[in-house]
Symmetry: D2
Subunit: 336 residues, 4 copies
């Protein structure tokens, strides 16, 4: 970590700061420049609060040299992590060259619906089933999901098709209900719900961690670190679009996040083109682009009756449309 | 709510959509234009999912005419809400012309620290004491607060000074510990932790709801609505800076949010200049500007030993600096 | 255009507004709702200033139903526009199924450099040569390009290879120098330099219009409209990354802009993965992703000696790297 | 400037880079850490391209220690700059404790209009007159201003009232028409029109430089540097709101920019609350807040007939409203 002092700092101020840094157990290397003094901090700087330093009146700027994330860092773990989801013969691998499509409706609505969709997407090549039982909605008046009942229906669909199930958790208080969920999803709005992340870190089940609406890649990796530092290393990252000023698309899908995250971290990274764009007609080109960018998988909304979907139907594909998308995606995977 | 259909939509598609809208209990007024058909939806549209409509292939765009928030809406509640915080003779009113300064350290660190700061800020005119016991930190390796111990120290400072206490909650699982906290704060990262908001809605204690890092004013009001629709109408909104592209200041303090929120809602709105800027030397001008913009109060970080603060000390004022800020702020209040 | 009046507007205010709207030659359709009055404006609303209406105290909100762009609008021009660049046998088509790669160095530096790069990229399949002679730099102290001398060297490279040349203009005062440039580029920082756009609209040569750093798709199309409304319909749009909060990548490449712009407009759209990411190692995955998203072409920086490039070398590929990228891109084109 | 090398960089790569840096005339101080090598670059680094370094494959990150702006930098020019606008007895000072209000209509429309408004705002305490003759509009179909005719009318209003005039330039080709304009404004969309900035740098007349829609403070200062490095040191900076995700206000007014810019630079900084909010009812609280934040002046839109304003009337005050705002603003100035 490198701290640059302001021009005009007194010797006393400088020594005060250096003493304090040393009291944190750091080595301090002082280099006097023409206009400014530069302090190089040596040792375990992961515990130094960069915002604190940055805000001090005598500091011009501070730069962290080594990344503050450790468990998620490729530097200390050069090989790709492969996350295994599900049990026995239905087990699916994600990462390290293993590509998977997660598909299913935004919300679980009925037994008939979820089983029908599950069979259709399996037929087209999806290897995991998604479906929302707890739905984070901006408005308290919007449909919030079937909760425990929705989880039961997901299990029935798993029995019927063998597909491992993926669904979102909104509070650690619901963990009992999620006991046999194969892949637990943390939504964008909870990416920095640190208490939830710590609870999930105490499990050993795989976690699908979605990037927040306006969060940086470093913040996403720090949230993964919350889970991993508690002992759960089965984390899959998910790029799902970030907020932009544009009004035609709901979010902007940040596909350069895929190769960038792969450089920074060993964790698998998948892409959600449905939530990113909010329009089903953009899901096909964005699924193909995400695959070409090197993603380890996709999570796509599929509904057997879009117009009547209780939520987000607009971004859902019909099973026929999904089949077409999956075919194109698998062709692109072959080129890579 | 007004939905504009795309050019070239067939009669069958249009009628399908109208039938579905009517099945939701809405009246539909059709108006055929030169290029496009416009549907006016009449009745309780608060349950219509605008994203669903917007995403349909036959829809060009949708506009909500009446706001989706009801409890927080000034239209249905024209007078300012006054929130009362604390008990008996120490009760403090916020809103409706009542201005309050909340002050105290970022984190509670020791009995000596919190009592000393509490006495100092009371002396300067603060009427509530803040102090963090649970700290949301981007990194799992940063100091996370003293938890239950911190809350005990806050209570001691309340006993010593009579100041009602304000502190942040990070999980509904901690509610027991917050039983006699006078004003419970929801931090920016939890603004859309809807399960937490619903739990707080079941209390009758006042809630301080901070705006998320990249959230709109409508989203802030919808989160207030989550609390209020459960029955707790004691909500105070807090502008604390939103993310910007600039690198010199941590966030950009959106002071136009103050008069805008006052127009949209009857809830009190206070401003946090410490977190917004991240630099103690900007707290004074921003406190004065926030007061001049019409805010109902301020929440300011004050620490008796900035350099050794375990977190965020850089944005904290010393008690002497705070005294100077408070004097200027009260002078500006007199002009308004 | 639909204008929603505020609750509580008087009859006199309403009639005043309606009279004024009629004086602009518009028909006004009034519809009284439970809480609010809605005005439907009929006729040529492209001249109504939406910001003016939106700002009036008696107005709640205004929505434009038909897009304010006409020449660029696919509604009035359903077939894809094909832009032809260059002369005679070297002519290159872009759009309507015609895919092209523009490649070359960020800045033209010497005759040897530009000719060597031109030959190499032609060999790998590029059909146009780019090279900067006028460089928009954030700092006045950074290298600003070789100006007229750079344009001469580009012409020599065109003679040597037959590749049409693409280069950026920064002021209409330089138009003489650009007389035989095949494709004139308007950079992101000048996307709303309306005086320059109008001048370019009076030419008949093709214009490559780059999206601004934080501009919406509608603003990009309105800037294209500035050129087209003066009579020059040869406009190619370029997505080159928009500003985001992330610090690892320079910008975020918005690939959903590609299918979205194709829906809104008939103009060709190409993608610049080099400027978007600022890192040469991200150019390959992003070139593949852009191609998979349906772009009509790519513009890629290639340099024969990256470390010594006078500017932006970091985002440049070597000719060998470019050859590998081009091969992958052409394979993906075959699938589409 | 400090450059951190990636882990795993070879000796050869490192030496190559160091040789190249030395060839630029820089001293290089090498410090080997536990995981990474850090290079400290000594000498005139203002000519080093930080983007080039940042993009190199062997570089982890680069930090500039000294700011890249020199003429605008307070470090080398500690006293406040005072810009003088206008001639003789009508001369107005801005900066260094001198506060000024610029007021007038968005667009000049007629002789009667501009003279009436000029007299009214002078009466209320404004000391400069603004009025647009060239208007940058997103749409080519919106009103673009009266051009040369508008400038003539501004001169008549100056004759009638003695107020120096402020108006926007959109192209260096119009400079003849601006010969006796007292303060030439560069609008937000042209903040990085570097060719225009350089031309204005060759004048000696004062320039009002507005911050771009999504530009950082550093970029604003670098644009000021373009003007100043050509010899014109009479630059006034203007904060006028930056783009945000919110939809209720047009932009977010960044008032923390005021004290931050004053710390970084010696140039005066004024605030435009009219364009920032887009709503006349927000102009009063934001004018008061801007004054309290320490701004050296305000630029406010005033119109004698808002509903008929050809453009931006929604954000204009009536003269009566302006009078009330000015009174409040002057009261706040007295406190400071």
């Amino acid at each position: 970590m490198i701290a640059v002092l302001k021009n005009g700092v007194t010797e006393a101020q400088k020594n005060n700061l250096i003493d304090w840094l040393k009291s944190l157990g750091l080595g301090v290397h002082v280099s006097e420049g023409q206009y400014q003094t530069v302090l190089g901090l040596i040792g375990d700087t992961s515990k130094v609060d960069i915002d604190l330093l940055n805000g001090l009146d005598i500091i011009d700027n501070v730069t962290r040299i080594s990344e503050p994330f450790k468990c998620a860092n490729r530097r200390f773990h050069p090989q790709d992590t492969i996350v295994e989801v599900g049990l026995g013969s239905n087990k699916v691998k994600i990462g390290g060259g293993n590509f998977a499509i997660i598909a299913g409706p935004c919300s679980v609505e009925s037994e008939e619906q979820i089983i029908e969709v599950a069979k259709a997407v399996k037929q087209s090549g999806a290897t995991l089933l998604r479906g929302g039982a707890f739905k984070p909605r901006t408005s308290p008046y919007d449909f919030q999901g079937l909760h425990g009942e929705g989880l039961k229906l997901l299990r029935k669909a798993r029995e019927a098709t063998g597909l491992p199930i993926v669904t979102e958790i909104m509070s650690a208080a619901h963990l009992d209900l999620f006991e046999d969920v194969d892949l637990i999803q943390v939504g964008a709005r909870n990416m920095q719900n640190f208490e939830l992340l710590k609870e999930l870190g105490r499990l050993r089940r795989p976690i699908l961690l979605k990037r927040g609406l306006a969060n940086t890649l470093k913040e996403l990796l720090m949230s993964a670190e919350y889970i991993m530092s508690e002992g759960n290393e089965n984390v899959i990252l998910c790029e799902r679009g970030i907020r932009s000023f544009d009004t035609y698309t709901r979010n902007v899908l940040d596909l350069s996040a895929v190769p960038m995250l792969k450089e920074l971290s060993h964790l698998p990274i998948i892409v959600d083109p449905s939530h990113a764009t909010g329009k089903s007609r953009l899901v096909k080109p964005m699924s193909m682009a995400a695959t070409a960018s090197g993603a380890d998988g996709l999570i796509i909304e599929v509904h057997n009756d879009p117009i009547h979907a209780l939520c987000d139907g607009a971004q859902s594909l019909t099973p026929e449309q999904f089949d077409e998308v999956a075919k194109k995606v698998f062709t692109i995977r072959e080129i890579l």
